[in-house]
Symmetry: C2
């Protein structure tokens, strides 16, 4: 190690909510904006909210699936994520060199040169959103049955979007309920789950507004896609005020994909009709940060009802 | 989407334990070897074991930290992981181009050419082992107090090691207890935690042997490092038979790092003595696969005592 290398934790003297979360031990700086460790209390809150989200779909028999932080590159390419969000994607590269290449790599590290020249792209990409691996998995089961599918999915997700807003992480956990079925089933899901999601946030005693929204599509063509998404009212966000001096944060959303994923992965009903899909998504770290923002940094002082709801001892 | 692209799930017709786990819905193929989704029951077992591991350190007041699947590249470089295991590391790359570059990227995707030419390395690397982010975090607190540190850490980890053994995943969860302190404290931790880890595996009713081991260091110089590690008895593995026709699987390990990390991150006691470190690590997916291997694929048929231990309802 170069003994002259300074510790790179500029975030340590952070002001605002992020600084408060650091000093309370809820978030742990790593030297990279938007990449933080979490303390035990933060994780207790995440786990509590996670269980509440699970319960939202239990009575409907939602099928539980969890995925790792990476997705097959082939599936990722098919998803057309790169059309809308090339700037957010994270590809995973690995070293395929020999011992000589290894020595060259180590020389570069030693003299602080770029040592990644020999890293080659693998067949893995970081998962962009929790629902992305699901559609292809369901396609493999054959035609979609009359009742459609409801899947309770979760994974770590990645967005290359460094920020000092504690609600905007590069690596974060997402829970989603994904519905696959006829257009009528999807419409019913949207209306129903908008209510369920709002109900959950009300139980967490958080203020919440809902509004039509659009995804942050890339470039000028992206603006057209965003406008189109808003006009068709395909995305509704659950907005909670969290960050000082900034607009509210989308801690959840309900998204209608029309037949986008149904067409890509050829999801059809037994009658041969192309399926529509929708999802209801929650950002676990965003919801948890919102809890600390509104209920205080000391979980011991949260109301007994709230602590009980989250399954926190005492 | 190219309608001619076949689904790439060759693992679907998989034989052996991996095939059994697929067909039971415990693991979900993604088209990439060693990258699988998990079903609800698999995750219930993971969660149950996770809670039992947490309890191992609670009475000692272990400090809980959880980290995302990525680590700051700067910290990763300092760790010297690349000296021993360049072949396992996963660097994260992202697109930094403009709209013209985006069009070129999409053209490549369209004609199935490599579209990653414009992906540039970021300041993030996939976390190689759960304890790697911890040492630098603890260094920031100043000199290590007389009682040392005990940290309960967990994260997703990455190893570029595609395999059809269900115990050898590219992305997996690791729990570790990390001890930082004087050589005497670290020696005591090793002896104590070897027993705790074996006790946990006994409670899970799994067969287990322990043995001296070495890490899979890269290349010829790596062989020397491996021999050295064995001779000094720095690594003990908790070995459980899992895969058919293969040796037992290391589902946990106790590792003595001597002053390797203490030197890299300048961890010193208040008396100015360089700290030693050790960790006791568990592979969550490996332990869970071992449970299905030894107790059967149907968790409903597991003994009531075992289900109760894992907190599984009914």
């Amino acid at each position: 190690m170069d003994q002259n290398t300074p510790f790179d934790f500029a975030t340590d003297t952070q002001t605002g909510l992020l600084g408060d979360l650091f000093r309370a031990g809820h978030l742990i700086p790593t030297g990279v904006d938007g990449l933080y460790g979490r303390g035990g209390q933060f994780e207790q809150v995440v786990d509590g909210i996670d269980r509440l989200i699970s319960r939202l779909g239990e009575a409907d028999g939602a099928e539980v699936m969890r995925f790792p932080p990476g997705i097959a590159r082939h599936t990722f390419e098919e998803s057309e994520y790169l059309k809308g969000f090339p700037q957010f994607a994270g590809t995973i590269h690995s070293f395929c060199g020999d011992e000589r290449g290894h020595r060259e790599m180590l020389r570069c590290v030693e003299v602080s040169e770029d040592w990644t020249a020999q890293q080659k792209p693998t067949d893995l990409v970081l998962t962009p959103a929790a629902c992305y691996p699901v559609y292809k998995v369901m396609k493999r089961r054959g035609p979609v049955p009359p009742e459609g599918y409801l899947i309770d999915v979760g994974s770590y997700c990645f967005r290359r979007e460094p920020s000092l807003e504690p609600t905007r992480l590069q690596m974060f956990r997402q829970r989603e309920f994904v519905r696959i079925g006829t257009p009528a089933q999807i419409q019913a899901f949207r209306d129903d789950w908008m209510g369920r999601a709002k109900g959950l946030i009300a139980r967490l005693a958080l203020p919440c507004a809902t509004d039509v929204a659009n995804d942050p599509f890339f470039g000028r063509i992206g603006s057209l896609m965003a406008n189109n998404q808003r006009e068709q009212e395909l995305k509704f966000e659950l907005l909670i005020p969290v960050n000082d001096g900034a607009g509210p944060t989308a801690c959840g959303s309900v998204n209608y994909h029309l037949d986008h994923f149904g067409a890509i992965w050829d999801l059809v009903t037994e009658a041969g009709e192309r399926c529509h899909t929708a999802c209801c998504a929650f950002g676990m770290e965003r919801l948890t940060v919102a809890m600390f923002r509104h209920h205080g940094l000391d979980v011991a002082k949260w109301s007994p009802a709230l602590r009980d709801l989250l399954g926190m001892a005492g």
